[in-house]
Symmetry: none
Subunit: 408 residues, 2 copies
């Protein structure tokens, strides 16, 4: 009987046929002997995390795959990213993600990433803990230029717009309430006051003074976006009866793990980027299986390559994933291995799409079908047909013999 | 990237195996080299417009395929047919479709079509514009014996039964309210008064006096059915961001186009019947693609042959469709071509059924599958599986890279 689960999510893995690849997708064109062997031993199908025709963000897609209905339980992107930075959120906190960037005296955003700066920790520390009108601001650095900002205090709302203009050389957006509640007005107001105060602190920050002396752009602004009100989600272990661990490089995915109460395992070399150490992540995931019932393993960079339209690089990264998965073939049958993606990121679109992604279930007593290859069109002929994200944990519970009985 | 869409709907195309065709359906038995070539280049599947097991009318099926949920947006058959006659409907109008027929002095319907009469325009003009109890009656002729009747005025309802007995040699049905509202009672009442007045006018109409002299049955009654209360639907262009045109012969299908704000193109020779000029319609559709983003092309007669149980004629008409589609093979990849049906009309039933119909999507970057033939059972093994009507425009938006993102 299956008693452990390893869920691999390859972000943005699905794609569309690419003429230069002989009208194959990057996944179909990639040499993936290990994934093909796993598919051959598996029950296969396709998945649209939020249902057919719906184009999902990574956050809602992962929630659905973990068995949390985004229509009812989505807390917004901010709280998920911020949870991934290790900030312990409290009920009612308003969380935003953001970048350290540069805004000039006219209010124009000149640099959204300040890539010439390698360490933003001192900036975060300089503005962390500010209190304005009874609201405490918690600011923590993320990977590279990223940061999480939390507003903690009474009478706050997430019904506010982004400050981040999402483009360079555009005017900073004014944070406005999106409804007529006094809470939204207060939140927008206190956030504007925070910007003034934080800008003043950052303007005079020694690290920025050094940069300016060197003729470089200082990081003087926290460009926030994606406000969400934190609400506690039922922990994964409570919902599914499985102790769980998360092995991921990207902040969002660590945040999903943290939000669901999984043990988030920091793996040296796991960057969530092309330079990530896939072997180390697979090792960490296999190690985590020794002490946890369920391990969520996330690989990011296929999505990033899709977003950049780099089909050759996407294919090459998929081949690296495949090589890293060699140890999976030695997993005992009592460990259910699932390989899927959160959504497609077709190179032709350079964006997420609603195209379904392959999903395979390999483990003891699954109804292995005739699919011999891990690819979009190979798995489309698998026995599972088209699943939704919420179907995944239902299928896992069923395979584990843990589904509740309906009726008698 | 796909930037144009041609949607072909072959009414009632689907069928069931017919022993005389070697247990093939008319579509499977027909020689369709062009549709087969298109299917070979396409992503294929099956569709039940309203979902599995639901037997749809043509009106609701088309609405679903266009992305309008019939459960929420169906205005009734009357308003759709009437819109197809070119009557500009106003919010709150009660619209009915009807036939000019004959009812004898005992109230028995003796002729539902008066096929011996070739022109009903004078009859319509004679009763058009009548006013009864503050309700204006608008009567316009349709194709052959058909007519549209609109009641315009305050306090009306579509909660009324049909006058048309739907069979000859049966008593005319009394129009009754189907709920207890004063509006429904008033509408039934005013419609009965209209019948008396219209019958009096038609009895004395010179064209009828001529017919009676010649020993022929006069057309003395408007047999109405399908009352619906008009409500404005969101225009197709507003909903999907695509300028749209409609090429159809049948009134209902022109009505769908008109109701959704499409440019309804009148094609000489497009009759909606067996004698229709399919080549002219295909030419008109291809011409319309030059100036519109989306073209809806409708062929009717396969449905009519199914309703009559004429499997050989249905097969022959499908072969005519296939020949007319030869120019489609030259469409650029940037034009998405979709070929489907609104429902099946199995010859054995002589009626609509819930059996799914084939659907194919051919255009740039679709995930072409292994289906090599356009038929019910060939497309059932396609990668799309079983779609609903509402899935169609969602899939179109996805392929065009225009789907809204859910989550972040």
């Amino acid at each position: 009987m299956i008693n452990k689960v390893l869920l691999l999510v390859c972000d943005g893995l699905g794609d569309r046929p690419i003429p230069q690849l002989g009208n194959r997708t990057p996944l179909e064109a990639a040499a993936t002997p290990n994934l093909d062997a796993l598919a051959t031993q598996a029950q296969c199908g396709m998945m649209c995390a939020l249902g057919r025709g719906v184009r999902p963000g990574s956050d809602v897609s992962h929630l659905a795959i973990m068995g949390y209905d985004p229509a009812k339980e989505y807390p917004g992107r901010g709280p998920i990213e911020v949870a991934g930075l290790g900030i312990a959120l409290e009920e009612g906190d308003i969380a935003l993600r953001g970048n350290f960037g540069n805004v000039d005296e006219a209010g124009i955003c000149r640099d959204r990433h300040c890539r010439h700066i390698s360490d933003f920790r001192a900036y975060a520390a300089a503005v962390d803990g500010l209190e304005i009108d009874g609201v405490k601001f918690i600011v923590k650095p993320g990977t590279a230029h990223r940061a999480g900002v939390v507003l903690r205090g009474p009478g706050l709302s997430d019904a506010i717009t982004d400050a981040d203009p999402h483009k360079e050389n555009e005017h900073l957006h004014e944070v406005r309430p999106t409804d007529n509640s006094p809470e939204a007005r207060r939140t927008a107001d206190v956030l504007r006051k925070f910007f003034v105060k934080a800008a003043e602190i950052l303007r005079n920050h020694p690290q920025n003074i050094e940069l300016q002396k060197a003729g470089k752009t200082p990081a003087n602004f926290v460009l926030v976006r994606g406000a969400g009100r934190y609400r506690r989600l039922q922990p994964f272990q409570q919902r599914w009866g499985l102790s769980a661990a998360c092995v991921a490089g990207g902040g969002l995915y660590k945040g999903i793990g943290a939000l669901l109460g999984m043990k988030v395992i920091d793996v040296p070399g796991a960057t969530g980027k092309l330079d990530t150490d896939l072997d180390a992540k697979v090792r960490a995931a296999l190690d985590a299986l020794a002490s946890h019932d369920f391990v969520f393993l996330h690989f990011k960079a296929a999505d990033t390559q899709g977003e950049d339209g780099k089909w050759a690089e996407k294919k090459a990264f998929i081949e690296r994933i495949d090589r890293a998965l060699a140890p999976i073939l030695s997993l005992p049958a009592s460990t259910l291995f699932i390989a899927t993606a959160d959504h497609s990121t077709p190179c032709i679109l350079k964006a997420h799409s609603a195209d379904p992604v392959p999903i395979i279930f390999r483990g003891e007593s699954v109804r292995v079908d005739g699919v011999k290859s891990y690819g979009e069109r190979a798995c489309a002929s698998g026995d599972l047909g088209l699943m939704t994200g919420l179907d995944v944990m239902a299928h896992v519970m069923n395979l584990m013999g843990r589904s509740p009985l309906v009726g008698a």
